[in-house]
Symmetry: C2
Subunit: 223 residues, 2 copies
C-alpha cells in the first residue's frame, strides 16, 4: 500500500510529530511505502490564488475553478498532486485548531484538491474521482474527550468534523476511516502518551479491518 501522510505541526518534538514518526515506522515496517509532506518544514504556502498557476488562462479576472480547470499548476502543487494520485491511503496528521484543520493544512486542501484533478461537476461523493483510495484523520486536541461527547461542552466531535470527513475527504470519493484522536495531549502523562501511541500503532496495523464511517459509493443525502 502507498501511504501519504500530510503533517502540519510547527514543532517536531510535539505529540503530532511523535504520531507522524510512529506511523512512518509502523507502516514501513509492515511493508508499505510511505511519503510525508511536512508542511511547516516545506514552508508550504497556504493562500490559494493566482500563485497556484504558472500561466493564467483568464488573466483579466481571477476565477479559481476556471484556472484550475486550465491546469497550469505551479511545480510545488504538481508535486503534491502527484503524491496524492500515487497514494492508496491519505493520512492527515495535525493538531485540531478551532475545531478544524490548521490554516496551513486547510491551504493544502484548497490548493491541491483542485477542480479537474480531484473532482469535477459530475464526479464527487459516491461517483468521486478518488474512489479506491482511503483517507483518515489523525489528530490531537487540547481539551479532554469528555468535552467532545454528545452533551459535552464542545459537542459531538463527529458533527464538528462533518466539513472535513464528508466535505473534503468523502467528497473526492475516498472511503473515510474513523479518525484516530489523541485527546487532551497538553496534559497527558508519559504513560498516557505511550498508551495512545500503542493504540495508534494497533490502528495502523489493522486498517484493513477498520469499518469506514463513509464507505465508498455511499449516498450523501442520508446525512
Amino acid at each position: 500500500m502507498n501511504v501519504l501522510i500530510v503533517y502540519a505541526h510547527p514543532e517536531p518534538r510535539s505529540f503530532n510529530g511523535a504520531m507522524k514518526d510512529l506511523a512512518v515506522d509502523v507502516l514501513t515496517g509492515a511493508g508499505h511505502k510511505v511519503q510525508v509532506s511536512d508542511l511547516y518544514a516545506m514552508k508550504f504556502q497556504p493562500a490559494g490564488g493566482p500563485d497556484d498557476f504558472t500561466d493564467r488562462a483568464f488573466p483579466d479576472q481571477f476565477g479559481y475553478q476556471a484556472e484550475q480547470a486550465a491546469g497550469h499548476f505551479a511545480p510545488e502543487l504538481k508535486a503534491e498532486m502527484d503524491k496524492l494520485a500515487w497514494c492508496d491511503l491519505l493520512i492527515l496528521q495535525f493538531p485540531l485548531w478551532w475545531f478544524s484543520l490548521p490554516g496551513i493544512l486547510k491551504g493544502w486542501i484548497d490548493r491541491v484538491f483542485a477542480f479537474g484533478f480531484a473532482y469535477d461537476r459530475s464526479r464527487s461523493y459516491e461517483s468521486g474521482m478518488f474512489r479506491g483510495k482511503r483517507a483518515m484523520l489523525a489528530f490531537t486536541t487540547g481539551a479532554p474527550a469528555s468535552m467532545y461527547a454528545a452533551g459535552g461542552r464542545h459537542g459531538s466531535i463527529d458533527e464538528l468534523l462533518l466539513h472535513v470527513n464528508r466535505g473534503m475527504l468523502y467528497f473526492l470519493g475516498m472511503e473515510v476511516l474513523p479518525p484516530f484522536i489523541a485527546y487532551g495531549t497538553p496534559r497527558l502523562s508519559a504513560e498516557d502518551k505511550a498508551a495512545y501511541l500503542a493504540a495508534y500503532s494497533e490502528r495502523l496495523l489493522n486498517l484493513e479491518s477498520t469499518e469506514p464511517i463513509y464507505p465508498a459509493g455511499s449516498e450523501t443525502t442520508t446525512f
Copy 2:
C-alpha cells in the same frame, strides 16, 4: 458602531470584493466606523507557529498556547488584535472553500484568536471574553442553495458551519448573527447579483433587529 471586516479573496473584482465594498459604503453611510483587513492584499501569513512571536518564553520546544499566554506577539498580529478589540461587529467576508474558511482566513483565526487575548481556560462561550461584540459570516458558494438544504447533496449549511459559527465565533462569547449567503455566484445573472447586493445592504441596515443564532450567554450543551 465600530465594524471590522476581515476579507479573504484574491480577486478585487470578485463578488466577494463587491460585497466587501458594499458593506464599507453602506455601514459608513449609516454613520458607523469601518476597518477592513484585506488578507490577500496584506499578504497575511496563515501558518500559525513560532513566527507569531517576537520573543520565545519557551525556546526549547514550541507550545502554541504557552507562547500565546506569554504574549510576545509580532507587530502584524498585534495590529489585527487591536482591530478585533476595537470592533463591536466582526464580519468575515469570504468564498466558502471546502465547506469552511479559505486557508488564509483560517490562519487569521488561528493566529489572532490567541489564548489569553481572546479566551482562556475559564472564559469561553457563555462566559467568553468578547461578550458584547457581535459577529457575522458573509460568504459566497459555488453550488446553488438547493444543494445546501436539509436532504440536499451537501447537507445543511448550518451543520457544516457549526465549527465556525459556534466553534470560533460563539466560543469567544460573541453574539452570532445568521450568515448572509450568496449561493451559486459563478452562474448568477447581473439581475441576480444586484438582488443579492440589495438584500445584503438591507441586512446591513437592519443588524439591530436581526435575531442571533447564538445569543450572548447561551449555553452550549443544548447543541
